[in-house]
Symmetry: C2
Amino acid sequence: MDDDKVFKALADPNRRMLLDRLCERNGQTLGQLCDGIDMKRQSVTQHLGLLEQANLISTVRRGREKLHYINPVPLYEVYERWIRKFEESRLSLLHDLKQELEGKER
Amino acid sequence: MDDDKVFKALADPNRRMLLDRLCERNGQTLGQLCDGIDMKRQSVTQHLGLLEQANLISTVRRGREKLHYINPVPLYEVYERWIRKFEESRLSLLHDLKQELEGKER
DNA sequence: CCAATATGCAGGTATCTTACTGCATGTCAA
DNA sequence: TTGACATGCAGTAAGATACCTGCATATTGG
């Protein structure tokens, strides 16, 4: 997995919105994803392209349509690599901070 | 929490590296964080500033030094809001995709 | 106090990002 | 086949980002 592409893909609110909409209803076409959005189709295409490069979505051609599906695997890997790591050390980190501050007072 | 700031802060590899180093040893000064990095101190300051705005780190002044501590809370909120959501629907998403493809064949 | 150290702030520039317009290609249905 | 529809691709301008240099400020130890 390319960490960087995943994080960069998630860094844009429009792209997160697209993921949200796909989570509501999976397998939407480009046209459907453009509905009710204040953005040109071509821009949406660009965003979807970045999401696909980050492997956050997969696409399937069906005739002249292109269906978009979420792929949650990279998100899980981000969780494993980043979130869980810091989560586990939460208590000890706060403990460090407390010690440091107390050390200063003495 | 400001979703956007957190994601944007995590979108840069240098900032993720800084978080990593703080995870190794919490409470480092700016100078320590600059050690062994091919980047000017002022650039590191900028990155740390973004991380602090995203509430991913907290700082404490101690005399002329500034100590940096990780704050894992926003990461956990990102997990709650983003990762878990997609993780839960993983199986059903693949199921949708399968059905869609089968539907096409008929 | 003074020199060394640690950090802050201003600004400049090259690059990346985002959204756009315009046109091209491919597919369906009558 | 042809017109309508769905998407692809190229080029561009405005804005954001990342890194730098140069100088200013604040703290410590002797």
